[in-house]
């Protein structure tokens, strides 16, 4: 393998995997959407409550591997309480980082830089990406006023 195991499965990742955040159902969500990684079979449900242009609360449930579960959990933790603009910016940064673009992770993003270890495992990058691109697409649909739940895919 290209990287050492502990580089990917850092303690923070394993912690998020074992006790994922954002697991409390969110019945009054403003939008809910789904993510799917056909080549892995991973499936993800995401619901977001918006208030005053803020991401008030996030529900996320991932039937997937440690990486996609932890990544989704981190998303829930980090984006909760952020303004929509901030949340979108952060999601774009994480996506860019995972895709190997030259972006810098702001210091205050807490656990998220633990995802960088995944980059050494090219096949697993899409696992880490799933939650973030699902959020981005869901948010875009919400802002465009399309209330329909869609399914975002990564390949």
């Amino acid at each position: 393998m290209s990287g050492s195991l502990d580089e990917m499965y850092r303690d923070i990742i394993l912690d998020h995997y074992r006790s994922p955040r954002g697991h409390e159902p969110l019945p009054m969500a403003d939008f809910s959407t789904g993510g799917h990684n056909p080549s892995c079979g991973d499936e993800l449900k995401l619901a977001v409550k918006i208030e005053d242009d803020m991401v008030k609360d996030i529900y996320i449930d991932c039937k997937g591997c440690a990486i996609s579960t932890a990544s989704g959990s981190m998303l829930a933790e980090v984006l909760k309480g952020k303004s929509i603009a901030e949340a979108k910016k952060i999601a774009a940064i994480v996506r860019g980082m995972l895709k190997g673009e030259d972006v810098e992770i702001p210091e205050d993003l807490g656990d998220i830089d633990a995802l960088e270890g995944v980059k050494k495992f090219p096949v697993r990058i899409k696992c880490a990406l799933l939650a973030w691109v699902t959020f981005m697409e869901g948010m875009e649909n919400y802002e465009n006023g399309s209330g329909e739940a869609t399914t975002t895919s990564v390949e």
């Binding site: 393998m1 050492s4 195991l5 990917m8 499965y9 394993l14 995997y17 074992r18 056909p38 080549s39 892995c40 079979g41 991973d42 499936e43 039937k63 997937g64 591997c65 440690a66 990486i67 495992f121 697993r124 696992c127």
Partner: protein, 425 residues
């Protein structure tokens, strides 16, 4: 390595076999690999197998001494390479039970072999309302071409379900295979469950209704003695790379009458008899289906793989794999949280062992095992519909071949035990 071979010699189940596992392992250069400090344990044989030195050498020898384009050449190299290429065809014909070499078509692999049938026989013979019967355990290669053909022709796709134990469920078989059935397409051995299907029996039933039968032998020919004539099938497909041979070579066996009546597939050089701007006639079998320059060197080298398997003996190979599969299933079953798919009885299955962990995703299992030098596969194994039927998003799959030994299984089992600890479960 030393250590492992010693283990083998002490193992009664394998030690009794008329095969010399130590010698066999020494024939495969890649097995000596050290990856990140771990000796390679290769258990991804259902995806592709490793190659013995004789196969690699056959490629080298071909390019060093005989390389030329085949069939039309009137010079020494062209004659030699044509002879070698055609020799493999005769060998394959013999290997699958003594068919006419004209009935052996070289393709890139099983996938192309099945698509060839769909694009030619299927295109001409499947009509609106006809029924195509497949099973729930098909690999995408023996599924997607038929789904698409059925859609195009407005034909009906029917499927033979599977039981909880991973066998074909034949309880309603007479409602599934009927006089409306035009084609039965089924796998001889499942690449997920390991199940060996009763191809001869189902073929006999399909034949009673006048249907054509195609069997996907990608996982069967490498592991079982296969006689396509006694199976009674019309078409049979398999891949060289899954049976010690090079990548890029597959075989379509087809009954002569059917192949002769079919239109050609890839059109170009070698597959024609006469060409004018407004009319083309086709060459005889097998050339009609081998348009263009084939994968000559690898077809030639595939001969060495067949020889190697024959030297071991397919019965010995099968016995070794049954013993090892039994050993593996026993030890894997003892690991808490692990669930094994497919039949338990080794007589009814091959050495493809799919398993899941109650808590861990197969991808994490595979990545973890890789860090110990153990190569298995994780995912849907190109059988997405089967995954949903099994209620799994994916499985981990360890698959065996002739060079695997109990030490490989021991390494797998030991690593899996450590895995749950690593993930804090």
């Amino acid at each position: 390595m030393e250590q492992k071979i010693k283990n083998m010699q002490h193992s009664p189940s394998v030690g009794l076999l008329p095969i010399d596992l130590e010698r066999i392992r020494a024939d495969f250069p890649i097995l000596d690999q050290i990856i990140d400090g771990n000796q390679l344990v290769y258990l991804d044989n259902a995806a592709t197998t490793q190659k013995p030195r004789v196969v690699i050498n056959a490629i080298i020898e071909y390019y060093r001494k005989y390389n030329a384009n085949i069939h039309r050449g009137l010079h020494y190299l062209a004659e030699k390479s044509t002879e070698m290429y055609e020799h493999t065809r005769i060998h394959v014909a013999d290997f699958i039970g003594g068919v006419d070499p004209k009935e052996v078509i070289f393709t890139r692999g099983t996938t192309e072999a099945i698509n060839l049938v769909a694009y030619t026989w299927g295109e001409e013979n499947i009509k609106e309302g006809d029924e195509i019967v497949i099973t729930e355990m098909e690999h995408h290669a023996n599924l997607v071409p038929w789904i698409q053909l059925a859609k195009k022709k407005k034909a009906i796709l029917k499927r033979i379900p599977i039981t909880f134990c991973g066998h074909l469920d034949q309880s309603n078989i007479n409602e599934i295979i009927t006089s409306k059935t035009k084609l039965l397409a089924l796998t001889h051995m499942s690449n997920v469950l390991g199940t060996i299907n009763p191809v001869a029996e189902l073929t006999a039933l399909a034949k009673k209704h006048g249907a054509v039968v195609l069997a996907d032998g990608a996982q069967a020919v490498p592991h079982l003695k296969v006689d396509v004539k006694s199976l009674g099938v019309d078409f049979y497909a398999f891949s060289s790379h899954k049976m010690l041979g090079p990548t890029g070579v597959g075989i379509l066996y087809g009954k002569k009458e059917l192949l002769e009546a079919m239109p050609p597939f890839n059109m170009g050089g070698e597959m024609i008899r006469e060409v004018s701007f407004d009319h083309v006639t086709w060459a005889e079998l097998p050339n009609k289906f081998e348009g263009g320059t084939p994968n000559i060197a690898d077809v030639v080298a595939f001969d060495a793989a067949l020889h190697y398997l024959e030297e071991i003996g397919m019965d010995n190979l099968r016995q070794h794999e049954m013993d090892l599969t039994k050993y593996a299933i026993e030890h894997l079953s003892a690991i808490p949280g692990l669930e094994i798919q497919g039949p338990r009885e080794v007589e009814q299955r091959g050495g493809v062992i799919s398993f899941t962990d109650n808590d861990l995703h197969p991808h994490d299992i595979s990545t973890f095992l890789d860090s110990k030098g153990i190569a298995i596969r994780a995912g849907h194994h190109c059988a997405q519909p089967l995954m949903s039927i099994l209620g799994k998003i994916a499985t981990a799959r360890a698959s065996l071949y002739i060079y695997n030994n109990e030490a490989d299984i021991d390494a797998l089992v030991k690593a899996l035990k450590g895995m749950r600890r690593y993930f804090g479960l």
